[in-house]
């Protein structure tokens, strides 16, 4: 069994840390991503008289691609880095060895709740990102550039299908597993790094965790998209 009943509280704690505490930054990035998309696409589409599809274009870009990818990258930057650091420090200060001596499975105790919390948090934050991104597009296209509100909202409603939303969530779950596993793995094996020791090793593990996660998010995005198309 991966999770034990007594781990529920630590999963909730991690959901709060990885999910709830990342909401603000995810919303902020989503808002400006949506606004930039609205701005760029409006001027591109207006040249062909196709500004009516702006809502569809923005919402599809966000729901299918930008939402899951950017949300995952933002969570990696905020929560993934701290996952790697926290577990790394626990490794070098022998806290993980202490768990072993107390017969506590360190993978179950430290890693499982983080993976579970990521799987819960990533799709939720992706949904928040999508929603706020669409609002951002509305602000720039409708409120600032004067596109008809009904046109924009109709484009959003008619353009996005359930399979797009499901596809976005599938991606976010894949990213959640990748990010949490890589970040915890980098921290957990900090002591086995050959290039450095101690605090420096923790720093390098954190850097590796963030870089590797971001790269793998993009690689996985391509792979999952190719399966979903």
């Amino acid at each position: 069994m991966i999770f034990r009943p007594r781990q529920v509280s630590s999963i909730i704690q991690q959901v709060y840390y990885i999910g709830a505490k990342s909401t603000t930054i995810v919303m902020l990035v989503a808002l400006f991503t949506g606004m930039v998309l609205g701005l760029q696409l409006y001027y591109a589409l207006v040249q062909f008289g196709s500004e009516g599809v702006l809502g569809t274009t923005i919402s599809l870009s966000l729901v299918r691609e930008l939402g899951p990818v950017l949300a995952a990258i933002m969570i990696t930057a905020r929560a993934g880095s701290s996952m790697a650091t926290e577990v790394g420090i626990q490794r070098i200060s022998e806290q993980i060895d202490a768990l072993y001596t107390m017969r506590i499975d360190s993978l179950r105790y430290l890693v499982s709740p983080r993976i579970a919390a990521s799987v819960i948090s990533f799709p939720l934050l992706t949904a928040v990102f999508d929603l706020i991104g669409i609002v951002g597009g509305y602000i720039s296209a409708v409120l600032l550039l004067g596109l008809n509100a009904g046109t924009y909202l109709h484009g959003v409603q008619s353009g996005v299908e359930m399979k797009d939303i499901t596809g976005g969530f599938v991606k976010s779950i894949v990213f959640a597993i990748i990010v949490s596993t890589i970040c915890c793995f980098q921290g957990y094996f900090t002591h086995m790094r050959r290039d450095s020791y101690g605090a420096k090793a923790v720093g390098l593990s954190t850097t590796s965790a963030v870089v590797l996660s971001c790269v793998l998010i993009l690689v996985a995005d391509y792979v999952v998209t190719s399966f979903l198309m």
Binding site: R6, Q95, A98, Y100, M102, R103, I104
Partner: protein, 413 residues
């Protein structure tokens, strides 16, 4: 002690890269004993300890538990084995995002089915025993090094283990706290009857609570035996190691280490004619456990130390020299006195102790005025001859021991 070792190392070799840390180590640890591993820094003491709990695995040789190699145990056997063991890390390894209470409760919460109420009772008992009540809700980073050690000690003992591995439990502590921690370990060992394996540099203090000593040098066991056997063991490493530590000890306490006490004893008594005598006195602090209970282990250790200094000062002025025999006993030799004269000196000491000594000791031990505590001091003396073994004189003096001073709390009288 049974003849079958509880834990045995057979030709254990451990290498880290090119470096050989342990080289064909053979040693035995017996059930119920306090075994202390001594050696200079970096000789592989912690590595040796980590092999017992499986944190490290030997490159060659094997570690046996009750005759069975631990690496060949089934999962069930291994779990049973590890359940018996508790480990106190050199750097404490406390969970820094948890409070003292949560740290101590951690093994109970994660590995037992005890209710929260039962966990709280057990944890609070240990916390109280280790004098951590005022900081129970603080985080490790808010505590001093000494307090952190005590939190680690509480956590190690909270599961009532059968074998406890202490990796330098007193490192970084001042003399008083060191003795308090060793006293606590001795007390817990007495109460719970676990097998203790300690790594320590605190010679000779650690001898008082140890049944067996294992000395490591350059990855090899150079000595295995009782503290008494170690004192008579000739080895260049031991001379260098013990002399440096004991010199520091004497500087701090003003008392001779047991080893140097013997040297002076042999020098002074050995020069006497065969028919010349000397007097040996033995002092014992009794009911000091009550002081520990009411004022704390640290205070009781301060009190014993202050008493030792006071005793040394008194008898030193008449040519005597003293040492601490164990946690609660002192031995003094009066090389130039006969029995009558020694008895008179002892009577003077007893009178002086009751009239003035206690307030001096109380001040030295930093016990506030008006604090309530009880303890008594008993003393015995015997005359010895030049060619007589110190052990037999000590035995005779011990048999003569009677109470010379009793301090009782005014408030309770």
């Amino acid at each position: 002690m049974t003849n079958h070792p509880l834990i045995e190392f057979r030709d254990v070799t451990k290498r880290f890269g090119e470096r050989t840390i342990l080289h064909k180590v053979n040693l035995k640890i017996y059930d119920g004993d306090v075994t202390t591993i001594i050696g200079k820094s970096g000789v592989g003491k912690s590595v040796l300890l980590k092999h017992i709990i499986g944190l490290l695995k030997p490159d060659e040789g094997s570690v046996l538990f009750q005759g069975e190699p631990i690496d060949k145990m089934t999962k069930v056997e291994w779990n049973e084995y590890v359940t018996r063991i508790s480990y106190m890390f050199q750097n404490n390894a406390l969970f820094d995002s948890m409070t003292v209470f949560e740290n101590v409760a951690m093994p109970l919460r994660q590995t037992t089915r005890l209710s929260e109420k039962e966990i709280k009772e057990k944890v609070m008992a240990r916390v109280e025993q280790t004098e951590l009540m005022p900081v129970v809700n603080k985080y490790p980073s808010e505590l001093s090094g000494g307090m952190q050690k005590r939190v680690a000690l509480s956590r190690a003992l909270v599961t009532d283990p059968k074998i406890v591995l202490f990796d330098e439990p007193t490192t970084g502590q001042d003399l008083i706290r060191r003795n308090a921690i060793l006293g606590m370990i001795a007390e817990c060992h007495k109460s719970f009857g676990f097998t203790a394996i300690l790594i320590s540099h605190d010679l000779p203090d650690v001898f008082f609570i140890s049944n067996r000593i294992i000395a490591l040098d350059k990855g090899e066991v150079v000595f295995e035996g009782t503290p008494e056997e170690l004192e008579n063991f000739e080895h260049p490493f031991l001379d260098e190691f013990i002399d440096s530590l004991e010199g520091f000890q004497e500087h701090l306490t003003g008392l001779y280490s047991r080893r140097n006490f013997r040297v002076r004893y042999q020098k002074q008594i050995g020069q006497k004619h065969a028919d010349e005598t000397f007097v040996l006195l033995t002092f014992s602090v009794e009911d000091i456990g009550l002081v520990g209970t009411t004022l704390g282990q640290e205070t009781s250790q301060k009190l014993i130390r202050a008493l030792g200094i006071y005793l040394n000062k008194h008898f030193g002025s008449v040519g005597g020299f003293s040492t601490r025999q164990n946690t609660e006993q002192f031995v003094t030799v009066l090389p130039f006195s006969d029995l009558n004269e020694a008895q008179k000196i002892l009577d003077d000491f007893a009178t002086d102790l009751v009239e003035r000594g206690l307030s001096n000791i109380q001040t030295s031990a930093q016990i506030p005025e008006g604090e309530c505590f009880d303890f008594s001091i008993s003393a015995g003396l015997a005359e010895g001859k030049q060619n007589e073994e110190i052990g037999s004189v000590l035995e005779r003096a011990g048999a003569q021991r009677k109470t010379i001073a009793r301090f009782q709390c005014d408030k309770r009288r």
